[in-house]
Symmetry: C2
Subunit: 436 residues, 2 copies
Amino acid sequence: MTRDTSDMLADRLRLLGPNVNTFYDNPLHLVKGDGVWVWDAAGRKYLDCYNNVPHVGHCHPDVVAAITRQASTLNTHTRYLHEGILRYVEKLTATFDAPSSTPLDTAIMACTGSEANDIALRMATAVTGQRGVIATDHTYHGNTDAVAQLSMTNPPPTGAGSHVRHVPAPDSYRPLGGEGGMAHAHAFAAAVQAQIDALAASEHGFSALIICPYFCNEGFPNLCDGFLVPTVNAVRAAGGVVIADEVQPGFGRLGSHFWGYQKAGIHPDIVTLGKPMGNGHPVAGVVTSHRCMTAFRESFRYFNTFGGNPVSCAAAEAVLDVIEREGLVERARDSGDYARQGLQQLATKHDCIGDVRGSGLFFGAEMVLDRETREPATAFTNRVANAMRDQGVLLNKLGIHYNTLKIRPNLQFTREHADLLLDTLDGVLSRVPLQP
Amino acid sequence: MTRDTSDMLADRLRLLGPNVNTFYDNPLHLVKGDGVWVWDAAGRKYLDCYNNVPHVGHCHPDVVAAITRQASTLNTHTRYLHEGILRYVEKLTATFDAPSSTPLDTAIMACTGSEANDIALRMATAVTGQRGVIATDHTYHGNTDAVAQLSMTNPPPTGAGSHVRHVPAPDSYRPLGGEGGMAHAHAFAAAVQAQIDALAASEHGFSALIICPYFCNEGFPNLCDGFLVPTVNAVRAAGGVVIADEVQPGFGRLGSHFWGYQKAGIHPDIVTLGKPMGNGHPVAGVVTSHRCMTAFRESFRYFNTFGGNPVSCAAAEAVLDVIEREGLVERARDSGDYARQGLQQLATKHDCIGDVRGSGLFFGAEMVLDRETREPATAFTNRVANAMRDQGVLLNKLGIHYNTLKIRPNLQFTREHADLLLDTLDGVLSRVPLQP
């Protein structure tokens, strides 16, 4: 740790308070970003395989130009008419598909994914008249008072309200009941049904299931096609709504589809958006049908001063335009497939790799102490992430046992970058001992 | 209403849903802003006497340059070290004063005032171990599920939780119990004390009083020096904390002080910031003592992806620098004093002006049907705001009876602009009939 780093950590403690965590044992002091690369204060260059916020590349010139142009022209709010929000919501909702009876063709603009999920919970209440909500036991949907209660990994000290119920996160490597495929899907749906029943019998009633359709924080399990269909059917049969949190999988990251719910083959009632939407500019949104939007707008008087301002809309529109013009969904598929195959190759050499999973540019490998017992190599995975950082490649860990390498580069990531990632990982896995 | 306007309203209904309100009977389609001016799509220029978000002037070039520079260099989050947030929080907290035993010298960065107040409520709970909160009955603190419950003017359909209690908003023109001065102050403190007692006797306990120290939404009453002192003493005696919501009065708007709580002569425990902080860029914050911050950080694992990102910090730092370099607090005082004197002059001519109030660039006049009875001229005030818009001057209305002209221009507003405002208002008050 350089003197510079320890000074900055001391300043953070003094100015930001305790427990404002940094990544890595030796925290990174970043000063510059470009495409898939970031640089630290010492001028060292790192391949960024982790940050999904700069979705179309760090400091993409088209996004910067859009922000500059609009910030120089006008920044105001939605109490005035402005073309920007209308043009953006038109373009955004065109990327959604849903049954023609309930198209996902209307949106609220907000500033953070947390705000979007905070709205979504109230929208579900407006639609159903109920308040009970179901989430997985290893999810994270954001930081507002209402939304933080959904998380068992980041819970408030008083715990969640009794209107929040949890179900075991799907785990394709260690499936519920020991069986994979549709047996696993039905077991998950049954767990959801049990919580629906419990909520229906409570004072809260059942309002919504909120899920990341790719189960990112749960370790992006490799689930069978149609896995979520029995669950969604159970939610609908009980009169509830499905909220798909696309803050991580959305905007083409998964390569196969623009949205995670499309890959999962379901039709959510409400979709929430965040991190990648403005390439780092604070913008987020809720996309839904006219029916749900009307229920919300007739129940709650919602106004967000910064939400849908012209600069945020310009940033978000530039992101959509860059994704299309540069063919970034296709690139996510191509680079992601290539990198995952490379990880599978590494698995033939390194026994610590228990399972390789992913789609597009959200992929990784579950690290185990023993392939037979599948015992999670949690501490080892942490050492690998730190060793990778020291070798100039940024990634991290997540999953139920925090033993899954989380590789989630921005969409400028190519096969060439994948080669550097794989070569570096090969070296690190050869050097870092499984047991210290 | 032009064809353009009706088309855009139809598109808003289709894309954003119902009840997404605009200002004015004839909504404005804005396309450009510069300093205190905005332009509509037809090229018409308006004097903006309303918008506080572009605090240092619409599209201030220094703020745009700071955003462009940082967005071109690096945008990331606080899991990495970055100088920007440290430099900003150092500069920001230097504008606060508090007893040296509990300096307000630490901050959390967020994206919206709503997020800031959502944090503040949990921070108060972390400090006190209690949950009950007191607000005025005519306030608004934001739009998250937790914060929206504080508002009786914008309430959720299910009402607030029983942990929220309200006290009558202070009204200097029609004071509680009929008496002004410290008698009014003690009556307000007694109302707060009654709710403290009620909460202390409930399952929730008493946690915090949250107030805008300038009571902006309540109609910025002209309160005596020390008005809030008995109230703050009551809160402290009961072990509660004081949250000052500076989203509207802060950053020098009041001319006399940098923060509203300083003008009120109190020392809050927690201060929340929003709208003007980044001149329109979505940035907000919570400033508090190390004691409160530590309690929060040790109880809640809070992380905000966009909060404190380098671009937001650069925008916010540029705003502080412009305020200082251009002497905008002094200008707020000078222009505000001049404009308020002009309003008082108009009151000698127009009987509809019942009361002229304000400080710096947050001022206005309460409109009455009769100066003796002080009957609020609510519909008239609405007609005046619309007529002013038609005459090219943007302002709006607020207050307990929505009969107070709300004049809240950005800090580039000079005496010359005040003359235009006053001349236009004189003409409008001469023409618009008190009773239609």
